[in-house]
Amino acid sequence: MSDSMNTRNFIALDGVNPQTTVNSAAIYSQQMLYASAQITGGTSTPNGTLKIYGSNENGINDPGLGTPDITYWAELGSLSATAIGTGVAITDVSYKWLKLTWTNSSSTAGTMDVRMTIKGW
């Protein structure tokens, strides 16, 4: 948190197998207001659903130190994806944590990368 704008751009799903269900790590977003996730690369032609979830669980007292333990997630955004390049964005993020979940429908074999941008203070 700061008095200037705070943004991050990072790989949330890195070279994952899109023919399986994949979850990202929990992303600490308490000071963030905007988030987007986009399939930006890979060797597969993805076909499935990419969802952004939020949670207000404490997870861990010191985010960044250790692994948060989070059980309950609420769906905030959903994308039906059939190609690299597709993305989903949410605004007015009011949860402490975010995560991505990819659910396969009929992706081809290969890998998939998903990059996120989050913006806040």
Binding site: T7, Q38, G41, T117, W121
Partner: protein, 134 residues
């Protein structure tokens, strides 16, 4: 990024908009990770017989592109359409078409004009952009 309001405005494309036979034009990627509002407009002074016709798009990307935007060349390949509309203008007069969006949550944006079969080539104009954030 700063502790005060941050805006940028400029011309990102200046010159011939569409040559005969060219499928479309698109701007270079515009770094907007710290921006919430983005706008881009296409200005053309139409002559008799010229027609601006097709679709305009505002697109976003989360590609990294460049670790340090502004230094070196950016390669952004994954684009996602965030807003678009059809345009059809043929009166011989200066015209401007634009797309804007708020709540911009991506790292990069660009503006694209995809002419259809009714469009004429050889149009000359500019694409300007404005973005606002912190």
């Amino acid at each position: 990024m700063s502790g005060s309001f941050n805006t940028k405005s400029g011309i990102i494309y200046d010159g011939v908009v569409v040559e005969m036979g060219a499928p479309e034009i698109e701007t270079d990627p515009i770094f907007a990770q710290n921006m919430f509002y983005v706008n881009a407009s296409l200005e053309v002074n139409l002559s008799v017989g010229q027609q601006l016709s097709g679709n305009i798009y505002l697109e976003g990307s989360n590609d990294l592109g460049n670790e340090t935007p502004g230094i070196g060349t950016t390669s952004v390949t994954s684009w996602w359409v965030l807003a678009y509309n059809a345009v059809s203008l043929s009166t011989a007069t200066p015209v401007m078409v634009e797309r804007s969006m708020n709540d911009f949550a991506y790292r990069w944006f660009r503006f694209r004009y995809a002419p259809d079969a009714a469009a004429t080539g050889g149009l000359e104009g500019k694409i300007r952009y404005t973005m606002k954030g912190w």
